[in-house]
Each structure stands twice: as structure tokens, then as C-alpha cells.
Amino acid sequence: MRRLATWLVVCGLGTSVIGQSDPDVSVFSRMLGNGTRSLLVLVKGPANQPVDEIRIELPKGDAEQAVALSTPAGWKSERDGGALKLQWTVAPGYYLYRHMLKVSVDSPAKLSLAPLQLPKGEGKQDPEFGAVEIYRGQLLAHIPLAADVPLPRTLRVRYQGCADIGVCYPPQTKLVAVP
């Protein structure tokens, strides 16, 4: 049951976004700022942000149970060691660009992860960028984890999106603590 607690609501509860001393993070993170500020933004009224929340799920060894407990029906881990899973909840009327989604290890610096695995997005013919893929609603991505590879302490998550009405929001970079 402890695995149930591995859901970590980053933007919604604001307890897991690490400070903003990192220069790359401070660049565009001011709109969401720390989690508390983003919560205020969401409460204030009109959806000012394309992303309501990011969730990160960690199997931590008991991959099968973690997968069974907290992933949508039909979701399967691709490796015995499980996978690091990230979920974005995109507000109605907004979308995220696939090519702007990036996740990397922030700490420890020498640790590297497998590439982010993303589902096929919705095709969009962008007047400026041509054929691109976008995501609306729930986006669930994962990073396969080998059994013998230690978990990162902190992830750097970057994303960027726009609203259908014709405005875009700056790329957001968040440092997310891995519990």
C-alpha cells in the first residue's frame, strides 16, 4: 500500500519542486514559480496555464505492484525493473508540443536515463512549424528503468504549450524530487 503514496503532485501541492537557484530553471519557471504559486494561479480563475499538474510515479523495485496499483488499465511495464512514469494533466483548450517535452537527470549529475517514451500524439498542421504532434488531456509517459540502475534524486522536466485561442506559454523547466 505504501506504493500508493508514490504519486507526487508537483504543481498542485507544491511540495516537491525544488528551489529556483538553478539558472536554467529560473529562466522560464517564473510563470509557475514554485508549486504554491502555481496553485494560486489555478485557483485565481481562468486557466492561466496549460498544465494543471505533473505527476511522477515511482515503482521502486516492486514494479509489478506499482504498475498494477496506480496506472491506467492496460498499462504495462516494459521491463522487470519497472519504469519511471510521468503524467501531465493538460487543461481543456490547451495543448503541449511533443517536441518540447524533455526529461533529464539533474542529480546525481553522472546518472543518465533511457529516453522518454511518449505515446503518439495528435497530429497538428502548425502554420509555422509544419506537421507536429501535440497532447491534450492526460499525457502519460515513461522512462524505462533497468533493475540495477539507481534512481535519480532529481529530475529536470521541461515542457511548453499553447492555448487554442492563439497564445503560447513560455517553456517551463521544473526540478522534481524523486522520493
Partner: protein, 194 residues
């Protein structure tokens, strides 16, 4: 005689009704398509229109050479400040319009100023490839601060502000501006070409 007049009046009325209906249909048919937003989806709030008619606050953002530039440097011109970024599709779409406006309306006192919320290298590339004919400033926090002080607390772009030669904010626009809207805006404020 009155019967003839009455028939003529009826005919004129009929023509007027047909013409009005046709005009209405044409207007409906050719008006710019608005994005379809499902019920319940939040709208992007408008810019802070209360700033219109107020003196523009001083804003300092670096240019592409890293030199700090103030908005007040362009006092005396009709300054169209356009906040944009290379990652913003709607922003990139309106750049050619702004380049053309600078070229064609500069004699009327227009000065377009691009302010990019982006990385310098990406902006330099876009400026070079798209043939910008107006100055461009670039930054991150400084640009967000500038936008906030000019009425955009959302941080969303494109965002455009028209400041008069006297330094007073005349118009704020959240979202893209198409050719028709830009022309109407400039015709509303700028003096006629000499």
C-alpha cells in the same frame, strides 16, 4: 399615379431587403474565422486595458548585443512593442506583417520594437532569416517583468502594446494580430501619410 408610385416603392423596398440580406450573408461568410472554443473552456483573459491612456512605465531589456535599452529611447515615435518568441507559432505568423508595417508605415511615425522571450541565438537566427527591419530586444526574466508592467500578467504571447509619441499607452492586444486588425489599429492612431 399613386399605384405606380406604390409599385415603385415596393420594388425599391424589395431591392433593399435583398441587398441587405446579401450584404449580411457576405459579411457572415467572409468574416475572419474565430477559433472554436468548446463550452466551459476558459478564455484567455484580455490584457489590462486600464493601462490604456496611462504613461508607459520605463522598461529596460537588453538588445542582441547585450546592451540595456529603454523604451523611452523611442519617445517621439508611435512605438509598437511586440512580445514574441521563436517557440511561439502565433508570434512567428505575425512577424512578416510587422516587417511590412515597419516598411510601409515608418514614414507615418511607426516604430516596431520586437521583444523576444527567448534565447539569444534562436532570436538572432530568426532575425537574420526573416529579415527583421526593426530592433529586437531579448531576455527572460526582464521580458516577463516588462510584459507585466505593460499589462500582461499571464506571461502568454504574442502580446502587443502601442505607445504614443508622448509615451502614453494607447492600445494593448493579447494574442495575434492579423493584417486587417493591424491596419485598422494604425489607421486609428497614426497620422495620415504626409
Amino acid at each position: 399615379m399613386s399605384a405606380v408610385l406604390s409599385r415603385q416603392a415596393l420594388g425599391a423596398l424589395l431591392i433593399a431587403v435583398v441587398a441587405a440580406s446579401g450584404g449580411y450573408w457576405v459579411a457572415r461568410h467572409f468574416q475572419p474565422a474565430e477559433p472554436v472554443i468548446p463550452e466551459g473552456v476558459p478564455r484567455v483573459p484580455a490584457a489590462n486595458g486600464a493601462l490604456e491612456g496611462q504613461p508607459a512605465p520605463e522598461v529596460v531589456v537588453n538588445d542582441l548585443d547585450g546592451k540595456p535599452r529603454k523604451l523611452s529611447e523611442w519617445r517621439g515615435r508611435w512605438l509598437l512593442v511586440n512580445f514574441w518568441a521563436t517557440w511561439c507559432g502565433p508570434c512567428m505568423e505575425e512577424i512578416p506583417l510587422l516587417i511590412r508595417a515597419q516598411s510601409e508605415q515608418g514614414a507615418r511615425g511607426l516604430q516596431v520594437l520586437g521583444v523576444a522571450m527567448d534565447e539569444s541565438d534562436a532570436v538572432r537566427k530568426a532575425v537574420r532569416e526573416m529579415g527583421f527591419n526593426y530592433p529586437t530586444l531579448v531576455g527572460d526574466e526582464a521580458v516577463l517583468t516588462a510584459m507585466e508592467s505593460l499589462g500582461n500578467s499571464l506571461g502568454a504571447i504574442p502580446y502587443t502594446v502601442l505607445i504614443g509619441p508622448d509615451g502614453v499607452i494607447r492600445y494593448l492586444e493579447m494574442g495575434g494580430i492579423d493584417a486587417t486588425k493591424l491596419q485598422m489599429l494604425l489607421n486609428r492612431f497614426l497620422p495620415a501619410a504626409g
